[in-house]
Each structure stands twice: as C-alpha cells, then as structure tokens.
Amino acid sequence: MTTVPVSIAINGRRYDRQVEPRLLLVHFIRDLGGLTGTKVGCDTSQCGSCTVLLDGVAVRSCTCFAVQADGSSVTTIEGLAPAGSLHPLQESFWNKHGLQCGYCTPGMIMAAHELLRTNPKPNDTDIRHGLEGNMCRCTGYQNIVRAVRDAAERIAR
C-alpha cells in the first residue's frame, strides 16, 4: 500500500513518519509514537478512551486518520502536565478516587479538559453531560464528577 509522509508533534516532540493513509491517529500515537497512555476501548467511536487534544481541542483519535493530523500538534495524557508534575485534573482524579481500573482514565481526563476549556465553572449536571460520551464501567461516574468539580475549583483559585 502506498504511504504518505506526515509530520505530527506529540507532546511537543515532532514525529516525521511515512504512513498508510488509512492509519488511525490512535495507532500513530501508540505504535509509531510509542505513547501507550491513549487507549482503544471500542471500534465505533462510542467509549471515548482514545480522546486526545488535537491543536488544543479534544478529538477521538480512533476516528481521525494520522494524515488528517499532519502538521498538527497532539497532546496526550503523557503530555498534559510537565514531566514530574500533575495537571490539576490528574491530581483531582487521584484525590477523589475518580478511577479504579484506570483504562478509561486517560480519555476521561482529556474529555474533562475539554469540558473545562469550554465551561470553566461547570455544575454537576454540566459535568455529567460533558462526559456522557466517555464510558467508565468501574466508578459509576460519581467520583469522576467529584474529581472534575474539584479540579475546576482548584484551577479557578
């Protein structure tokens, strides 16, 4: 199959690769970038586990081809905070027991990041609606809602 060159910055580092046009962004990130924090949880764009930021906006990396991200900048869970530190969302998920098995967590945190970007002071209903596209089977979402509320409050301070 023919390949095309793409150049994608992930967490500030540029990856120049030859890829098949059909290569999904999530596989570019995981297999070519070696960054496995971004998860694949379904094959129908339903679960949100693969959510990353593409030029600052949350997208599902399983529903985006790598070629569509050519020239763009991607932020994954690994790059959300400078090395050795945690983003307030990460801290709040930890403090509020917002995760159990952790598989949905990277996507959930990136989706929460998008929610706070567009609505910095969400109430619980806003948070529940903002995260309805991300599946979690462990927590029943309650502590995720707590965590996002807590992060919003701490960011506002």
Binding site: T36, G41, D43, T105, E132, M135, R137, C138, G140
Partner: protein
C-alpha cells in the same frame, strides 16, 4: 500513624501510573520481532464448515502464517471446563480452541492469521474463504430445551448441559397450606460485561529452553497457567503467566479462552512473540456474557405475610460451550442463596443448564447471587401487593433475626453473621421512609408517578473452603497465599496470589500490613499478577480477595511480628513472654525505653549476626489461608424513581445503599466499589441487554447498540454502612466488590413497578426501556 492506617481513606498508590498514562496493559506491550494475530470468526450461529481455502490469505502482504482447525486440533487439547458440577448429569461437550467441522455460535473461531502488522492481519482475514452449510440455530434457553429444538452437540439431547436441584423442607405442604401463592416468570436477560479494556494476549515461546511466557488480561494468572499447561502441554514450571495492568474484568476475565491458546499456539509454531488484542465488536461476540436465566417462580405464604415456601424452575442459557466456571454460577452461587435474608421453611428449585447457539456465559459481577436476590425480592413485592401490606413490613416479618456466629438456612449454607432487620431499618430511617411514602401519595395526586423500591440482600462471597470447593466440583482450591518479606532497611514487600485489576488492593493490602507490623504504609509494596514471582493463588473474583487473600496476608504479617518479637527479646536479653508490642515497637514489659523497632529487628534478622538459638535468619513469613467458611456481606438499598407516563422514561431520583461488609480497610475504596456495583445493576434494570435474533446474530453487536450506563443518566448514589464482623476472618472482613450489583437491579425493578402500580402493571421485562414502560402503561 500505623495504628490508624486500618480504616483510613488514603489515596490509592495505583493511581499515579494510571493518571499519567504510564501504566502498562497487555496491549501496550511490544517485544522485538513481535507478530500480530487476528481471529477469523464464524458469521453463522450454527453451520457445517464445508471448505476452507487459506491460499489467498497466505500470500497476502506481511502474512507469516494462517492456521485452521485442522492445524490446531492435535496440538491443543480442548478448552477445559473447570467446574464439574456433581449429581447434575453434567454433559461437557468438547470445546475445541478452533472449530474443526462445525461452528456453534457467531464468534466461534475458524482461522487465525499471523502478520507483521495488525493492519495486515485484519486485511488477510477477508481473504480466507470459508464455505458454510448453515444449520438451524436456537438462542433462547427455554426453546433450546424443547424436543423440537436443533441439537447443538451430538451427545447432548435436548441441549441439556446439566440438571441440578436444590431442596429442603416440605415444599408441597407449604403450597398446600398457603393462603396466598404469587407467581411470576422472570427473565434475567443476557448481559455483556464490558470491562473497558478489551481482552488481549501476548505469548512468547523460547524453543531452546522450552519456556513460554504469556501476558494476559486475566483475573487469575495462576489458574490460567494451570489450564494453559493442560491445553498446550507446556509444563507448569516452564510456563509463566503475567497479568500486567488489567482494565476491569467483572467476571469476563476469569475464563481461559480459545483465542488465548491459539495465540500461544502461533508463538510456539513460529518461535516468535505473537500478540492478539480483540476489538470491542469481537469482545461482544466472543468474550463471555452473563445472566441469561428464565425463571418460573412461585412463592407460598400466609395471609399475614409469613413466607411458607418457594418453588422455581430455571432455564439458564450456557452458550455454545461451557466456559471455565460456568456450571457453578446458576447452581451453587444461585440456588444455595434462595433463602436470602429470610426464614424460608421450604424450597425446591430445578436448574436446567442449556446449550444455545450463543456466546458462552460465565460469571458476571454478582454471578448467580443477583439472580437469586432478584427472585426473592420480586416475589416479596408481589406478596406485599397480594396481602395488602407495605413491602418493608413483609421484609421485616420474614427476616432472619440478628446472629453473630452462624445461622444455617434451608439450603444447607451457614451464614456467618448479620443483622438484616437493623440494616433495613437504618436505610429506611436514613430516607425517612414514611415521609417518602407521603411524598409519593402527594405526587400521585398531582399526576406524577414516583416509585419507591426496596431490596435486601445477603451474598455468598469470600470463596471459599477448599474442601467445599472439591465437594461442589470446582477443579481447584479456593485458598489464598501471601508472603511478607521485610528487607534489611525495614522496607516490606508483599507477594500475593490474588490478582487485583482495579479494586485497589495494592493500597488496602499495604494498609493491612502496615497496621499489623507497624511500618509506614508507604514502606510496603504489594506485588501481584506474575506466576514466576508470586505464590499460588486462585484469583480475584467472587469478592474473595480481601476475605481470603487479606486473611492470608494478615496471618503472614502476624507470623513476621511473632518472629520479630523473638528476635527483639534476644537482643534485649529479655524473655519472650516479657515482650510487648505496640505501633511497630517491641519493648520489655514495664520498661518502654528498652525497645527495638521493627526496622532495628529487620536489619539484625537479615544480617543474622546474633540470632536466637534455633531461629532462622531473615524476617519473612508465608501463609496459606483456607477459610473455614464463606463470607456473607449483606445490606438493604432504597431506590426512588419517577416515571413519565407520557414517554415511558424512567428518571432516577435518589439511590441509597446500606451495605455491611464488616470492618472497612479503606472506606473511600469501599464507597467506590458500591458506586460502580450499583450502577452496573441499574444498567441491567434500565438499559442493558444482549439481543440475538432468531438466526443467532448478535443484534447488539457494538457499543452503538448495547446501552451502557452513561454519566448523564445517573444520579448520585448515597452510601451508608454498618459493621458486622465475620466471626471467622482474622479481622472480621467480608467483601464488597459485588454487593452493589446484587441489590440494585432488584431495587430499581421494585421502584419502577411501584411507580406503575396505579396503572395495574403486574410484570414487565427488563431492561425498562421507555418503549417497554410506555407499552406497559398503555397495556399494549
């Protein structure tokens, strides 16, 4: 700090790696030269394979190998069933890792393709030519047991995998003497577990030493090693199974699966690392499902609400083959729990396990106990209507009174401890039940349909005494083991046989050790999930890890403490009897300044320059703990819903869970387990169902079609608790992993039916979709 670490809601140590994306799940692993496997699965529910042509696939780009059933059948023994239910005429049909001439469900594997990349492997699947001659299929367990149903396995007439019964008391007399008999046919619909991490296997065979390493998304690596050794012939000592980070299981990662063995087969044939990771659609087709009971139930009672007896016939769909633990789920874990929290004088249940042309069924969170709890709670609600009593009063009237050290029920089980009436009273007080009923009456006057639902449960967990395991046909033990090793600097490593996968035992087990030997909790590392490193254990399921593994760990830590005391006495030149211990310090009675810390002793025991006579060097202990009984957590839940009669939509208004799992190591983690468990049970009541059409196609084949609970459809869960220690656990601990799920389906069902009572709705099938509710209201 150490004395207060037990019971403290400290943050989980698992989380830093999980929130930064640095945790390693199976599909995150890569090895040099690794190849990718993809499984070709049958699109037919029941068919003969007339021809397979793999030549085009073999010559596709990047393809290393293509194997079919003919290649595999002599290399792999059939996939084992490990719960050989006695006295049930159990018929285990051969379960080949790959179909040879017949496929029996949509998802049965017919070929495996191995390629240099994942994309190449999936491309080549389309090039494998399989000719099928379709056969009639059957997916419903009641229909499958009929005489005209297609027979799925040659030696299993009427598709009857087993017929198991439980009985006690004079059930015929109970029904003869009854004032009231209530009846219902209950469908416990088929569910898809949906652990967020799909299943995956990475196998690497080293031919020279003849050693195999398997990384797998498993809840029980030691059982998988055992079964993998049986199936592949690789000796257990040369077979290492690793459960790396595992993203939830809920029962679906107990079984040993065909695809796991096929991945191993490919690695052994090719002498290369081979990875297989299922897609979500593949997970829906081929990773085990749960529930699938049709229950015909009748309850006999007196006019004053006293229960006299219960009679039931269950048809449990088992799927096309018997999965690892499947036969025990609708029988032992269901039928023996029919007394629930009540005095039940007589019971008779027939359980027919039935093969159907569907995905194999296994344990799914609660596994048998939700199906038992639901039956009793539903019949009690019907009884309350029939005898015109409040459903809470009927429950109180029949509940087993408080007991602290054993209560034997009609099915033969001896519950450990409980105070069921106090639990129900506490949750009713919490919600102000009388006031809730008044609010409901007021709402009805305004044309609003509030419903209040109750569910009380007791569950059997902490599986269990190994002698009992043997007696009920479980082909393994159910003990757990732990090693506590104190290093020279006083830092502790703990090795456990159990295999947590989201429940947080790396944290709670460190809390246990810290509280037993007085080290800082951050000085204890808990190691699990690698059969080359950890001692034998039977896995994490059935809410058993704290109840059994936790007991092993506590007793191992106490052995360490006892040895440390002997060393301390020697170093302080005192008699062992004169030594006392508190908070990590050993001191001579009456002179607290003559003391040694656990760290002092760790150093001295590890260098061993001056050990007491006859005492071995080192500070380490192991414990194999076989529990004398199961553990029986219990509770009562209250749900409040509002039904929109115009649309049939059910809105969750309030949910309160009272659970008693004994003393809590970490109440924040307990609360999290309850939240998640309750929501899974709500999912069954309101949204979830695996649907097959009449030809055996899985209609709910992806997350687009199978309705999982989402954040915006739920309300907050209020979690309260009581503490009734188990008399047989060293710390009185029970289990909490499944409790929420066991109660909540029944509580929501109860609430919705209560809301619909003005419409004369007597029964409804789950899940309560708006369409179903609207039809019920309008008697369509």
């Amino acid at each position: 700090m150490s004395s207060r670490i037990f019971g403290s809601g400290i943050r989980r140590r698992e989380d830093p790696r999980l929130i930064t994306g640095t945790a390693t799940y199976t599909d995150d692993l890569s090895l040099p030269g690794m190849l990718y496997a993809a499984m070709l699965r049958s699109p037919h529910a029941h068919a003969r394979i007339t021809k397979i042509d793999v030549s085009a696939a073999r010559s596709a780009p990047g393809i290393v190998a293509v194997y079919t059933g003919a290649d595999v059948k002599d290399a792999l023994k059939p996939v084992p069933c490990a719960w050989l239910l006695p006295n049930a005429n159990l018929k285990i049909a051969p379960y080949p890792a790959m179909a040879i001439d017949t496929v029996r469900y949509v998802g049965d594997i017919v070929a495996v393709v191995v390629a240099e990349t994942r994309y190449q492997a999936y491309d080549a699947l389309d090039l494998v030519q399989v000719d099928y001659s379709p056969l009639p299929a059957v997916t419903n367990p009641v229909m499958a047991s009929g005489s005209s149903a297609p027979q799925i396995h040659p030696d299993v007439p009427k598709n009857e995998a087993f017929h198991w019964t439980v009985g006690g008391g004079d059930v015929d007399a109970a029904f003869k003497n009854a004032d009231v008999v209530v009846k219902e046919t209950i469908v416990q619909q088929r569910l898809i577990p949906n652990a967020m991490e799909p299943r995956a296997t990475l196998a690497t065979w080293s031919a020279a030493p003849g050693e195999l390493t398997v990384w797998n998304t498993t809840q029980n690596p030691h059982i998988l090693r055992f079964l993998c050794s049986v199936v592949t012939g690789v000796p257990e000592d040369k077979l290492r199974v690793v459960a790396p980070e595992v993203g939830g299981g809920f029962g679906s990662k107990i079984a040993a699966y065909p695809a796991d063995f096929l991945t191993v087969f490919c690695s052994m044939r090719l002498n290369k690392p081979v990875k297989w990771a299922e897609t979500r659609s593949e997970n829906y087709q081929a990773t085990t499902h749960g529930r699938d009971h049709t229950q015909q139930v009748e309850l006999a009672a007196k006019q004053d609400g006293t229960i006299l007896g219960l009679r039931a016939t269950i048809h449990a769909g088992m799927g096309a083959y018997l999965s690892t633990a499947a036969p025990g789920i609708p029988t032992i874990l269901h039928g023996l729990m029919l007394s629930a929290v009540y005095n039940l004088p007589a019971v008779k249940e027939d359980v027919y396990g039935v093969y159907t042309n569907t995905t194999p069924v296994e344990a799914y969170r609660g596994a048998g106990r939700p199906e038992a709890t639901f039956m009793l709670e539903r019949m009690i609600d019907k009884l309350a209507v029939a005898v015109k009593m409040d459903p809470a009063d009927v429950r109180f009237k029949n509940m087993i009174p408080r007991f602290e050290n054993g209560h034997t029920v009609i099915t033969g089980l001896t519950y450990d401890s409980g105070d069921y009436p106090a639990g129900l009273k506490k949750v009713l007080d919490h919600v102000n039940y009388a006031d809730l009923r008044r609010q409901q009456a007021d709402a009805r006057k305004q044309g609003r349909h509030l419903g209040i639902g109750l569910a009380s449960y007791v569950e059997i967990c902490g599986l269990g005494p190994s002698q009992v395991a043997g007696a009920i046909g479980f082909q393994g033990g159910l003990w757990e083991s732990a090693i506590v090793r104190v290093h020279p600097t006083g830092k502790v490593q703990v090795f456990i046989g159990a295999s947590p996968h989201g429940q947080g035992e790396e944290t709670t087990f460190a809390q246990l050790v810290a509280s037993e030997i007085g080290v800082d909790v951050n000085d204890v590392k808990v190691v699990h999930g690698d059969t080359d490193v950890t001692p034998m254990g039977w896995g994490t399921y059935g809410s058993r890890t704290t109840a059994v593994g936790g007991a092993a760990l506590v007793l191992a830590a106490r052995k360490v403490r006892d040895k440390a005391k002997v060393v301390a006495a020697h170093l302080l030149e005192a008699a062992v009897e004169d030594m006392e211990y508190a908070d990590g310090k050993f001191f001579v009675k009456g002179s607290p300044d003559r003391s040694k810390t656990i760290q002092d002793i760790a150093l001295m025991a590890n260098v061993a320059w001056n050990m007491p006579k006859g005492v071995e060097a080192g500070l380490e202990a192991s414990m194999f703990y076989d529990p004398p009984n199961f553990a029986y957590p219990y509770g009562s839940h209250v749900a409040v819903v509002e039904v929109d009669a115009e649309t049939g939509h059910v809105e969750l208004k309030r949910y309160v869970a009272l659970d008693d799992c004994g003393p809590q190591i970490n109440p924040v983690i307990v609360e999290g387990q309850v939240h998640g468990g309750v929501v899974q049970g709500i999912g069954q009541a309101l949204w979830e169902e695996a649907v097959y059409d009449s030809t055996g196609q899985l209609v709910t084949g992806s997350m687009l079609d199978y309705a999982l609970p989402r954040a915006d459809r739920l309300c907050d869960i209020e979690v309260i608790s009581s503490v009734t220690p188990s008399p047989h656990h060293p710390l009185g601990l029970k289990g909490i992993g499944e409790a929420g799920t066991i109660a909540s389906t029944a509580a929501i069902y109860s609430a919705v039916m209560d809301a619909l009572s003005p419409f004369g709705v007597e029964t409804m099938r789950m899940p309560f979709t708006p369409e179903r509710v609207w039809n019920a209201i309008n008697h369509r």
